[in-house]
């Protein structure tokens, strides 16, 4: 299996994207911001189309729009967190602009770029070039490290923001920085592996880890481990069964782990 270059690239990118999603996902779930992550991944798509309309590199649009929207979300809400209703209204409008851009793209001078934009929606981990895989891995690693470094103040500001302020943590700045980190993961993973994979890897492993343990560092490690295991197993499964898309296999494993943990913790009465 590893004699194929696309499999090696998939494992390289997948491992570190999963690591980033697992670690940041644990905090996303703790802060109840899964919807924000979901909205960012849809916004990324609009960024890609916008870049295509302007004739820019797709990545410029992806990163610029997701980071701007993340900062906007931080500015709109208290404690650097926007509430679900506001997120829903803003992202519906941005998608509406996306519809407009699709129309413009079909008639505009850069019509050929539409293909690149559409790939964003259905990006596949098996289609990565070795350069792309390396970039995805580096960004994944950088975000994971940043999350680990800022972990203590982030947990404190989420669980007890008054205490965090007393200890000198700048809660709003931290909240905004967190959303920007989420935006970077979103923009990179949307392009490399597709928006679908991103949401599953953020919500499912972290949700399972939160059910299993309340201890922060153990939960963080567990969440990352489940995410990475789901990616490794999913890629292998998809290689063995060609009609099974890799994204579907990975999500099936991650969601399966979540369901198993939910059943076990409920039966034990600890969930």
């Amino acid at each position: 299996m590893f004699s194929h270059e696309f499999i090696r690239n998939a494992y390289l990118a997948g491992t570190f994207v999963a690591l980033a999603c697992g670690t940041i996902g644990w905090l996303v779930v703790l802060r109840a911001q899964v919807f924000a992550g979901d909205a960012l991944s849809h916004v990324a798509f609009v960024g890609a189309i916008g870049a295509a309309v302007l004739g820019l590199d797709v990545r410029v649009g992806l990163f610029a729009l997701t980071i701007i929207v993340a900062l906007g979300m931080a500015a709109l809400g208290r404690r650097g967190q926007a509430d679900d209703t506001v997120i829903g209204i803003v992202f519906a409008w941005i998608l509406g602009i996306g519809v407009l851009l699709i129309t413009l793209l079909a008639t505009g001078p850069h019509a050929g770029n539409g293909v690149a934009a559409t790939n964003t929606l259905f990006g596949s981990i098996f289609d990565l070039g070795s350069g792309q895989a390396l970039v995805a891995a580096l960004i994944g690693l950088a975000v994971s490290l940043a999350v680990v470094v800022a972990f203590r103040p982030l947990v404190l500001s989420t669980l007890d923001s008054e205490l965090a302020v007393l200890r000198g943590v700048r809660v709003r700045v931290l909240g905004a920085g967190f959303l920007v980190a989420l935006a970077i993961v979103t923009a990179e993973s949307t392009q490399a592996v597709g928006a679908l994979l991103l949401l599953g890897l953020i919500a499912a492993p972290a949700g399972a880890a939160h059910r299993l343990t309340g201890r922060p560092y153990a939960g963080l490690a567990l969440s990352a481990a489940i995410a990475v295991a789901a990616v490794w197993g999913g890629i292998a499964l998809s290689y063995a069964i060609p009609s099974l898309p890799p994204s579907s296999a990975i999500i099936a494993l991650a969601a399966g782990a979540y369901a198993l943990v939910a059943v076990v913790t409920r039966a034990r009465g600890t969930g």
């Binding site: 779930v29 703790l30 802060r31 109840a32 911001q33 899964v34 919807f35 992550g37 979901d38 849809h42 509430d83 679900d84 209703t85 997120i87 829903g88 209204i89 803003v90 992202f91 519906a92 409008w93 998608l95 509406g96 602009i97 996306g98 519809v99 407009l100 699709i102 129309t103 559409t118 929606l121 259905f122 679908l196 949401l199 599953g200 953020i202 919500a203 499912a204 972290a206 949700g207 939160h210 059910r211 009609s243 099974l244 898309p245 994204s247 579907s248 999500i251 099936a252 991650a254 969601a255 979540y258 939910a262 409920r266 009465g269 969930g271």
Partner: protein, 282 residues
């Protein structure tokens, strides 16, 4: 005939209703606007926007699954949305009734639904009638039969909602009091999720999966900014949603840009105006 806007409003409206496809679009838009505004009012109050979005995304596995099984697409929508609502109920408010556990469960359900949709698509090998139609809707290809089906399902969902309206309001605003006064709070949770599933599956057939929020969340949120009294707020929500749909369809007819862009823009503008007004008033 080329649509051209004049200062004569009567003439403009006559132009709008010349073609059967526009009449069907206006009727379907009116039905889903009323349905989405009333269901959405509770959705916003219960802070279930993420659940609403997840249900709307279930259009994807619904449509691909229906294509694979060879049944009408609309059936697929209702089956997938209903299944997701049931899964959310089981996964959501368990003994760990915290907000973060709930969002993790909903996110996992959404990703699973999408993954199943991708699997169906790849098993089917045939191109689905344009993914963009699925996501962004087709206001302009609605048949007479579809309008009647929307009307029947919309009316059914609203009758159920009307029966549950008062207890649901109490259970939303004060869960403990509702439980103490003997209301079946958990059954109400499930009933509302199922009504929401029916409303979202109906609305997304017209607006597309991604633009449901222009009708489901923005008009009720704007109405709740202006008044907190339930009945006026519900009525205002319906008025706003109708305004968004009618203006969106009307302006799109006379302009080269798509309906989805105009409806979401009007919905967003409406919310910003309402939020600004309530802030100025204090």
């Amino acid at each position: 005939m080329n649509p051209s806007l004049s200062l004569n409003i009567v003439d403009d409206i006559r132009q709008l209703t010349t073609f059967p496809f526009m009449v069907n679009a206006l009727e379907a838009g009116t039905i889903v606007a009323v349905l989405a505004a009333l269901t959405g009012w509770y959705t916003v109050l219960r802070r279930q926007a993420f659940a609403g979005h997840t249900l709307s995304v279930m259009a994807f596995p619904g449509a691909t699954g229906a294509a694979l099984a060879g049944i009408p697409i609309a059936f697929g929508y209702y089956i997938a949305c209903g299944a997701a609502a049931l899964a959310m109920r089981r996964a959501g408010r368990g003994r760990t009734a915290s907000r973060s556990a709930e969002t993790a469960a909903i996110g996992t359900i959404q990703a699973t639904g999408l993954a199943i949709g991708y699997l169906f698509l790849s098993l089917n090998h045939q191109v689905l009638g344009g993914p963009e139609t699925l996501l962004f809707g087709t206001f302009l290809g609605i048949s007479r039969g579809q309008v009647l089906a929307l009307l029947a399902i919309g009316a059914g969902a609203l009758i159920v909602l009307a029966f549950a309206a008062r207890p649901l309001l109490l259970a939303t605003l004060d869960r403990e009091l509702a439980r103490a006064s003997g209301l079946p709070v958990r059954a109400l949770d499930l009933a509302f999720l199922l009504i929401l599933a029916a409303a979202v599956a109906t609305t997304s057939q017209i607006t597309g999966a991604l633009l449901v929020f222009a009708l489901l969340v923005a008009p009720p949120a704007a109405a709740q900014k202006l008044t907190v009294r339930p009945l006026p707020s519900l009525a205002l929500s319906v008025v706003f949603a109708l305004l968004v749909v009618w203006l969106g369809l009307g302006v799109a007819y006379f302009s080269p840009y798509p309906v989805g862009f105009w409806t979401t823009t009007f919905a967003f503008g409406l919310y910003v105006l309402a939020a600004g007004y309530s802030r100025v008033r204090g």
